[in-house]
């Protein structure tokens, strides 16, 4: 027997699917009780809009709900706020069943659509300000890219004051009671989702929040987890707080923060780290600190990386490679915004000395600014070489404080 279809408002129904069995999402995220693939049907006086679909394996649930609410020839628009397969899995079948419906995607989704669908299908592009009408219902689109794919967009249903936010404000939390005032405590899942999915894109969160602020929002309808209707402003404020660009150090003391991370086998790389920190600390407005990667937990790595304006990483070269904790440190950047941070690398070596170059290359791919070449010293640093370490730290600090870099290539 089919269950009752959940009404979000008189004209909007939930037609998504529940996945209580999933435990690992997108390879990196855990969920203790599953998730949902949220999809919504909006009915207006002149037709229906389907807001997103579901993961392909859950198509049956989606079509069952949809067919109980409308005829396929009533569907005027299919809106995909985000093309990831957990939301576009039923798209092809839906377009075959509703051939008159117009597919609406963001500009950045165009190439992705071709990559995912592998065939030419008609579509319309929506940028901020585009409006579609279902007669007595009006949907306005907002470009909210990189949340968490480049293609993500949001939309606002004016008459019902619903924000369809894409993956923004989502949670991997399964509870068929669906509304935030009915489900269990999902606050940990809401924050966990933000940390893993949105935290690397804070500047885009801030841009999206500015767009959302122009609307009077009664309900936030995300693509995963509970629908937020009890106090939408609470969730908007949480995102604003977590995405603030204010760094503690800068905010409290007006200082920029340089972190020197290192590992050392025979103290040589550690000696370099001390001198680099000393050099960086000579520059007014900078506070430099050093951390031994042998004793730093991942959670602390993430927080330190986020707070730091410049990151200097040191590793000896062992068997032609940097040491694993240095790679682990840089892997934490997957959770953070990297664009604009300054990076540099150094290390003592015995035989071949590849580690600083390898770390430098890795940081380049992580979108660091890398204004100085890697610094490497063979075995025990001489007094002259230690002076070079001081200058190295000082140069990185001065650039962090805004010194213009002049170069010729």
């Amino acid at each position: 027997m089919l269950g009752e279809i959940t009404k979000v408002t008189e004209s909007v129904n939930f037609i998504g699917a529940f996945d209580p069995q999933i435990r690992t999402f997108d390879i990196i995220m855990k969920t203790a009780n599953g998730s949902s693939y949220n999809s919504y049907l909006v009915r207006g006086s002149e037709g229906v809009a389907v807001m997103d679909t579901v993961k392909k394996e859950f198509s049956e649930d989606f079509f069952n709900a949809l067919e109980r609410l409308c005829e396929y020839d009533e569907i005027k628009y299919i809106v995909l706020h985000h093309l990831e397969p957990d939301h576009s899995g039923a798209l092809i079948e839906l377009m075959e069943k509703a051939p008159n419906a117009e597919l609406i995607i963001s500009g950045r989704a165009v190439m992705m659509l071709k990559g995912l669908i592998k065939r030419d299908i008609p579509f319309e592009v929506a940028n901020t300000g585009k409006i579609i009408s279902l007669g007595d219902k009006t949907i306005e689109f907002l470009s909210t890219p990189f949340l968490h794919w480049p293609d993500t967009m949001s939309s606002y249903l004016h008459e019902d004051k619903i924000l369809f936010s894409g993956d923004v404000f989502g949670s991997h939390y399964y509870d068929e009671r669906l509304f935030d005032d009915k489900v269990g405590d999902f606050s940990y899942a809401f924050k966990y989702y933000y940390d893993h999915i949105m935290r690397p894109f804070k500047q885009y969160v801030r841009q999206a929040l500015k767009l959302y602020a122009q609307f009077d929002i009664d309900i936030i309808a995300p693509l995963h987890g509970p629908i937020l209707r009890s106090n939408p402003q609470y969730y908007l404020d949480k995102y604003a707080q977590w995405s603030s660009e204010e760094k503690f150090r800068k905010h409290e003391f007006g200082q920029k923060m340089i972190s020197v991370f290192y590992m050392s086998s025979y103290d040589n790389t550690q000696e370099m780290a001390k001198k680099i920190m000393e050099g960086a600390d000579l520059v007014e407005g900078v506070v430099a600190s050093m951390y031994d990667l042998a004793s730093l937990d991942e959670r602390n790595m993430i927080d330190l990386l986020e707070e730091s304006d410049a990151i200097i990483v040191g590793s000896p070269t062992i068997n032609g490679d940097a040491v694993k904790p240095a790679w682990d440190l840089l892997s934490c950047m997957a959770y953070l915004e990297s664009g604009g941070k300054i990076g540099a690398s150094f290390g003592s070596y015995g035989w071949t000395g590849e580690a600083p170059e390898m770390l430098h290359d890795r940081m380049r791919w992580l979108k660091f600014r890398l204004p100085v070449s890697p610094l490497k010293i063979k075995l025990i640093p001489t007094d002259e070489e230690l002076k070079a370490c001081v200058l190295f730290g000082q140069e990185v600090a001065e650039i962090t404080m805004g010194k213009m870099v002049e170069m010729e290539i």
């Binding site: 950045r108 190439m111 664009g339 204004p371 213009m404 870099v405 170069m407 010729e408 290539i409």
Partner: protein, 97 residues
């Protein structure tokens, strides 16, 4: 040599003719973001604030990609599709515009 000022990184760099902006980004360590590097993904979109005439002309792929993104694309370029075409001049680029 042409002078390129990468505004967001405060880098002023002299670049010989025919060098690509990808090469400039790599050599300077600038924080310019690249995605697909073939003109599809729009990640490397940037505003050329002055000196557009010293860069190569937009190819069809770049024109199509930019038109999808915005109605007014004057001043916008995909950095992965750009190279320097002059020996002298001054270009100012912002990628966090």
């Amino acid at each position: 040599m042409i002078n390129i000022f990468l505004e967001d990184d405060n880098i002023n760099v002299k670049v010989p003719k025919d060098k690509s902006l990808r090469y400039v980004a790599t050599k300077t360590g600038a924080s310019m973001e690249f995605g697909c590097r073939v003109g599809d993904c729009l990640t490397c979109i940037a505003k050329v604030k002055s000196g557009m005439q010293y860069l190569n002309d937009k190819n069809e792929k770049e024109i199509r990609a930019l038109e999808i993104l915005a109605s007014d694309v004057s001043g916008l370029r995909l950095m992965c599709q750009c190279s320097v075409k002059a020996d002298e001049g001054e270009i100012v680029i912002s990628y966090g515009f």
